[in-house]
């Protein structure tokens, strides 16, 4: 396990370095001169030279990569060239909003999706199972921004129950929560469908296992077998999926932030694009990528821990 953990950590570190290298030379992908591209018709030779110097473009590719990685490791992600503020402080300012949104979306998905899957698995082929099945297929592919728009249309515009935009006044938890509800639901809906299907199929698989049959044979009540023995094992793969899914969840959060006009990494990157503010796009991409890699690692480790316990339990029971 320890050897495995070290190998995974090293691999993750290598991937982070490559991610940084890719982001460092992103501006080289711009056809022509990136600085002319940024300034457009306003560019003049003096300005171009100065900005190239500031952006570290007057150096070779390996040096550029090295400098970017060196600076990034020291917490320096460059300077926003519109407001002249440091990108790392901008990112840190906006990061909590995105994390809160993503975590509450994920939490909502688990709280609703897992029970739905269990209900569907109690009577496979029953009416509830079919309804849940159809609903989850339909919500799985519908993109989160579509869900967000529909929610805004119904609950904010038509019923006026929730505010359309913003993240609430700072320092007022209730107001924040009020602003968080619709975005979190929008983010969670697709995952609810996905988790419901996953838990259902896992439950059905686990319920055919020998230890479940043995538990029945011992005269343990159905309810107890279901929730105490089967559910615990059926829920383990959910952990792995959540870790892998955090990436697409964070991606969805970007749309949600833009639609609901909430502050966050998504809004930050989105606004930077229209002003071609590359350092900000690089910084936010890097932070999000590192978060995804870390989540994958965490999910991988915890799944392995859960998994070995399950296998021990299975051999003991069957």
């Amino acid at each position: 396990m320890i050897r495995y953990a070290i190998r995974r950590l090293v691999a993750a570190a290598i991937v982070i370095v490559i991610v940084m290298a890719f982001l460092a030379i992103l501006d080289r992908l711009i056809p022509g001169n990136p600085v002319t591209f940024i300034f457009g018709p306003r560019a003049n030779p003096f300005l171009i030279h100065q900005v190239r110097q500031e952006m570290g473009l007057n150096v070779s590719v390996p040096v550029q990569i090295y400098q970017y990685i060196f600076n990034a490791l020291h917490g320096n992600l460059g300077v926003d060239f519109v407001t002249d503020r440091s990108v790392s402080s901008l990112v840190m300012e906006n990061l909590p909003y995105t994390v809160v949104l993503a975590v509450s979306g994920l939490g909502l998905a688990v709280v609703v999706g897992v029970p739905l899957g269990i209900i569907a698995a109690t009577r496979p082929g029953g009416i509830l199972d079919r309804v849940i099945g159809i609903v989850s297929v339909s919500v799985i592919t519908v993109p989160s921004f579509v869900v967000g728009l529909i929610l805004i249309l119904i609950f904010a515009v038509h019923l006026g129950l929730f505010p359309v935009i913003g993240a609430g006044a700072p320092g007022q938890p209730l107001d924040d929560l009020h602003h968080l509800i619709l975005p979190a639901i929008a983010l969670a809906v697709g995952w609810i469908g996905y988790l419901a299907r996953l838990v259902r199929s896992n439950m059905l698989e686990v319920l055919t296992a020998n230890y479940v049959r043995t538990a029945y044979a011992f005269g343990i009540r159905r309810r107890r077998v279901f929730y105490k023995y089967a559910l615990k094992n059926a829920a383990a793969p959910v952990v792995a999926v959540l870790g892998v899914g955090l990436g697409s969840l964070l991606g969805g959060a970007i749309f949600i932030e833009v639609i609901f006009d909430r502050p966050g990494l998504g809004t930050l990157a989105f606004n930077a694009i229209s002003s071609r503010n590359l350092p900000i796009v690089q910084g936010t991409s890097l932070v999000i990528a590192v978060m995804v890699i870390a989540a994958n690692l965490l999910a991988d480790f915890s799944y392995r821990l859960l998994d070995s316990r399950i296998q021990l339990g299975q051999t003991a029971q069957s």
């Binding site: 290598i14 991937v15 982070i16 490559i18 991610v19 890719f22 982001l23 992103l26 501006d27 992908l29 711009i30 056809p31 990136p34 297929v137 339909s138 799985i140 592919t141 519908v142 993109p143 989160s144 921004f145 579509v146 728009l149 529909i150 249309l153 515009v157 038509h158 983010l187 697709g190 996905y194 999926v241 892998v244 899914g245 990436g247 697409s248 969840l249 964070l250 991606g251 969805g252 959060a253 970007i254 749309f255 833009v258 639609i259 990157a269 989105f270 930077a272 694009i273 229209s274 071609r276 590359l278 796009v281 690089q282 936010t284 991409s285 999000i288 990528a289 995804v292 890699i293 994958n296």
Partner: protein, 313 residues
């Protein structure tokens, strides 16, 4: 590398009993008919197929089907609800929403299908090379896919579109880049299993070159599952195109992408919700239809392939 597994059938029976050619399914036509029939007889498959066929027809003949042009402006009737003249109503410039949605089908498929197809082509090449050659090539392929997969698709797309600028072609490239690692991964894994087959070994012992084995023997045996993945990814790519167009990074106006219809409608949502409603419906029906079709195809051909799409958020 060991050429023959010890204790395997080769030692008992000798090389003459090896199947020298890749196993070919007999009666291919009959099998294909059976597949189509099975897809059409499951409810999900039938609904999905109808939706997919309808979308393809709309995308090929939009000007024959749509009642108006997608860019015909009528400023005297902006933001109308459904009427007999405009079945879906009009947008903020008085353009017919039904026509715009119909032409939007073309944009959606025009971006999604080439994007996913080229992602599959590139991913397939990377995966086959990495999986078959192994060693350094394989490690490079794994590192590349790991790197690109550690970005959420939308983040990678935003970063690339910032430097490339938005156009139909760049949209296809960017979406294709985000889908590519998955194909590389999947085809690499498939190659690793196909590589173990004895007919590959037989080919090698007959002196076939690596490129011949990869092209003639490995490729045909891993392509079917990849097409299933392709069918499953089309709805995600449609959603991706709509999402990027919604953010204003997609096809430039006045081209009617469902995403830009959504964002126009969102800006005037307080005066008329119809644009948002129709575009959401179109997107919802298209994605669910393709997903149902893809799932039916998968269940018939290869039930083992299940996974999370990166764009489903």
């Amino acid at each position: 590398m060991t050429m023959l597994a010890p204790g395997g059938p080769a030692q008992e029976t000798g090389l003459t009993d090896f199947p020298l050619l890749a196993p070919r399914a007999p009666r291919r036509g009959a099998k294909a008919r059976g597949t189509v029939l099975t897809i059409l007889t499951t409810p999900g498959g039938a609904i999905g197929s109808v939706i997919v066929v309808a979308l393809i027809v709309l995308a090929i003949f939009p000007s024959q089907i749509a009642p108006y042009s997608f860019s015909q402006i009528d400023v005297t009737h902006p933001l109308q609800g459904p009427t007999w003249h405009h079945l879906f109503g009009t947008d903020q410039l008085g353009r017919d929403l039904l026509s715009r949605i119909i032409f939007g089908t073309r944009i959606a498929l025009e971006v999604a299908v080439p994007a996913v197809a080229s992602a599959m082509a590139v991913g397939l090449v990377l995966g086959v090379l990495g999986g078959y050659l192994g060693g350094l090539v394989d490690n490079v392929v794994i590192l590349l896919t790991d790197t690109f997969q550690s970005f959420p698709a939308i983040v990678l797309a935003l970063a690339l579109l910032t430097v490339l600028g938005s156009s139909l072609r760049n949209l296809i490239i960017v979406i294709s880049v985000t889908f590519c690692p998955n194909y590389a991964r999947t085809s690499r894994a498939l190659v690793l299993t196909v590589k173990q087959n004895q007919y590959i070994l037989a080919e090698r012992s007959l002196g076939a070159g690596r490129s011949r084995i990869m092209l003639v023997h490995v490729l045909p045996n891993i392509i079917a599952p990849l097409f299933i993945l392709l069918a499953m990814d089309v709805p995600s790519a449609i959603a991706a195109e709509a999402g990027l167009s919604f953010l204003g990074l997609g096809v430039p106006p006045p081209n009617p992408s469902w995403g830009s219809i959504l964002s126009d409608g969102f800006n005037s949502i307080l005066s008329s919700p119809w644009a948002v409603i129709w575009a959401c419906l179109a997107l919802g029906i298209a994605t669910v239809g393709f997903l149902m079709f893809g799932e039916a195809l998968r269940d018939v051909l290869d039930p083992r392939l299940r996974g999370v799409s990166r764009w489903r958020a």
